[in-house]
Amino acid sequence: MRENKFKKALEELKKILGDKNVLTSRLNLLLNSYDSSPLKARPEAVLNIKTTTQVAKVMEILHKYDFPTTVRMSASNHDGACLPLKGGFVLNLAALDKVLEINTKETYAIVESGVVNQDLQDILAPLGFFFAPDPASRAFSTVGGNFALNAGGARSLKYGASAQNLIGAEIVLANGKILNLTKENPLLHLLTHSEGTLGIITKLKVKILPLAPYKETLTAGFLNLKDTMQAVQKIISLGFLPSALEVMDENALSLTEYKNTNIKTLLIAEFEGKKKQISEDTKKIINIFKNTGAEEIKTKLTKEELEKVWLTRAKAALALAKEANGLVSYDYAVERPKLATAVEFVQDTLKKHNLRGTIVFHAGDGNFHPNIIFDGNNAYEANQIKIALKEIDKFVSSMGGTLSAEHGIAVQKRAVMNIFFSQDTLNLFNKIKNTLDTKDMLNPQKILPLCDSKKQDVPTWTSIFYEQAKGQKEFDFKQIKTLNKIIDFDKENYTLTVQAGALIEDLNKQLNPLKFYLPTAQKRGTLLDLFLSGKDTNFPDFVTGLTFVCGEGLINIGGKFVKNAAGYDLIHFMAGTQGAFGAPLVFTLRLLPYQIKSKVNKNKFEINETLINLKKVFDKNNIFKPKIFKDYLDEKTKL
């Protein structure tokens, strides 16, 4: 049966794509069975897509015959995100590499998903602009891939990762339906780190930012990791916002020219802004370095020296590749003050298991990358790595960190998702996936773990809301407005965890005298209203953690770390939904050292069929703001 179906599908596909672009030879299948991870999975056919319009047509056919489909472009991800686990078809979208529009006046660019990140940067640079996500793989990874995995990079502390830089997209759903999504549409944000499991991104509208007029880079060599992290901590806690804050550990440095020096960790700090401000700041930063025991401080680097510094950084990440045929690269993130402890734990764990690895990290946002090598032909070593990683996973989870800050989950980290997310959250993820992709065709078996969750940490005060959300009566939002406690105010980490009913006015009164500012210019109302109304489009970008109740139970996403690429992006999804999908109870916010302007937006989201289906998942009894979807849910038969 299946073989016949497969043959028929191939014939129909050949009519659309041409014989040349439907590949079934053993060679081509094997060549599309790997990515940057050590994992492998072979597809049954490879389709080379040449235009965006072909994607919808192809998906229609594949949906009709029900074959698993996985999108592949540069295949540079570290976790097997583009491996066809259930076989089926691989769509090669790498040829969709056109930059369609660049608008410097309204600061956006429209690109096809296969455009290489560096190519876009090269086109923008002469115009005086840049594209904020800059993963280390920018020279070969595609913009579409960056968004599918929420890639960040060195500059994301200041300018945000991929999710913060998306304004619109054209996506193709599993059934071949094309959706044009704007920023107001909550669906768009589900797509950002969905890893291709919900839909196929064909076109993207992204933010572009003007290049800073002045840039200053400093390097400081330290004798130990603790001093380095102290310097990082001081830089951030004194209110500086560097555009990059990179650290390399001892093992990484031993592979570069710092091999025979007494310097154990190297800190690279990059600041962007106006010249006057930056040169004043630089003096202060140098003082910080001196006070924290930096051994070697370099400033006013020439162009050559700068290139050398970044080359050292690039080398440190990949230098180990020479020594083994297996390399895994992980991307945990924890809150910044705990970074030193986490890194030390990783170093000890590797030592304990006799493994070699370097650790490089984006210290500013608490994101660190252990790159561990192993002999791929040695089963014992491969097993040792698994054990070590599991220990690290558990440790990071217990610290409240995230499993993935910018690489995604895919296959490699799928198994440990259950110690990072509660069962309710995982169920919700599962149902979202089933709603958008009813036949489980798109990139199947990714992200979601196969076993039940082991995480249980429901605060007792939430139980009233939990019961209400599971009930039949209309949910009372006024109740939330009585919740206004500050749960945690972390001055060192620049985060605030606060109950949703807190008044902005009250918070400002407490924070502003201490020179902390909320990431919004709005002065009135509660955080709940601000978040759900979607008035301030910048605000959701600074919400790093969210606890909300919906029909599925109590959902907990994110935490006190800046970057996150684990699971679906429900924070951006919930923002601006007017409360129709659930009620936020707790926010974790990034605080800023200065007041920012906010972008006001009055547009409300448009309701479409997919959103109605999602509404049924989040709120099957229609108890959250029932008026919004009332008419649509009644007319079930029409849709």
Partner: protein
């Protein structure tokens, strides 16, 4: 097809971590955008042969199609973090499959155009291609061929022959296919016969044919990528006969496009003992000058033409 033990022949291919760093700097991959046409794919073919997952008998035909497309620019080798040489691996594959390098009529220009393509800094649609009348047909054919092959960004707006020109139309970039044309235009400009607002001129040289060359012991000859096709290799051979006693070393400067920085090249230039560097094309000459200045390497550069005329 030769029978060989692939485990030993391709042992280094097994070291590949398939990270993908080599992909986007490979001209063939940029054109075809398919895995097999990039260095990672080629190395994986070798690895799969070594692991006996592919066999020459069954998959030889498919492999043949793919490995032919390598442009030998060697970008992949420079970039590879695992220190592999994908081009060498591809050459080994070619040897096994008995593919001999034949230079198709249009390949030379194709190579040139790939290099132009990588010079991202100039406008991709507003270029003027200048060629001599004898080459006109060939140039046009190759450009059209490229367009047919899915090279959808037009590389040029117009092709003209510069001989009878009195006025050059305004374009952002001028591309020459050989140095003679460039000289002709340059002379005409200096004599005031052609008025031109020179914003950006790029020229590409073809093979020079030196007759008598005097070289001192402390010189290093630097060749450019355009010499690398089969026909040009013969020329190279002739050149080297001339230089035989005096040639000390030979660098290939074929990676000098793109980010115009390469640690390997700079490191090499620093370490060679020679005081004088000889370049065979003016473009290399200009580039090398910049490079030496940038890295403060104190060496003298002589363009080959001055030696020939001496």
């Amino acid at each position: 097809m030769k029978k060989q033990n692939f485990d030993t022949v391709f042992c280094d291919a097994l070291k590949c971590n398939h990270c993908g760093l080599c992909l986007q700097n490979c001209p063939a991959y940029r054109l075809y955008k398919q895995e097999g046409y990039g260095p990672r794919g080629r190395v994986q073919i070798a690895a799969l042969l070594a692991k006996k997952k592919l066999t020459l008998r069954q998959d030889g035909g498919d492999i043949l199609k793919i490995i032919k497309t390598c442009k030998k620019c060697n970008n992949c080798t420079v970039l590879c973090p695992a220190g592999l040489n994908p081009q060498k691996i591809n050459e080994k594959l070619k040897n096994i499959l008995n593919i001999k390098d034949k230079r198709p009529k249009t390949l030379g220009f194709k190579n040139i155009l790939f290099r132009i393509y990588f010079r991202k800094f100039f406008d991709k649609t507003d270029n003027l291609f200048l060629t001599s009348s004898t080459n006109f047909k060939q140039v046009k054919q190759s450009l059209d061929l490229l367009n047919k092959n899915g090279f959808d960004r037009t590389l040029y707006k117009k092709i003209i022959t510069p001989y009878s020109l009195e006025k050059l139309p305004e374009f952002k970039t001028y591309i020459f296919d050989d140095i003679e044309n460039y000289r002709l235009i340059k002379n005409k400009i200096s004599e005031g016969k052609i008025k031109l607002d020179t914003k950006q001129i790029l020229f590409i040289t073809q093979v020079l044919k030196p007759k008598t060359v005097k070289l001192s012991d402390d010189s290093l000859i630097i060749l450019s990528n355009t010499y690398l096709t089969q026909e040009m290799k013969e020329e190279e051979g002739k050149l080297f006969e001339v230089f035989k006693n005096n040639t000390l070393n030979f660098v290939n400067n074929r990676y000098y496009y793109g980010p115009n920085y390469h640690p390997k090249t700079v490191g090499y230039l620093k370490s060679v003992p020679q005081k004088i560097l000889i370049t065979l094309s003016e473009r290399d000459n200009i580039f090398l000058k910049k490079l030496l200045k940038k890295y403060k390497i104190d060496k003298e550069i002589i363009p080959i033409e001055t030696i020939i005329t001496q």
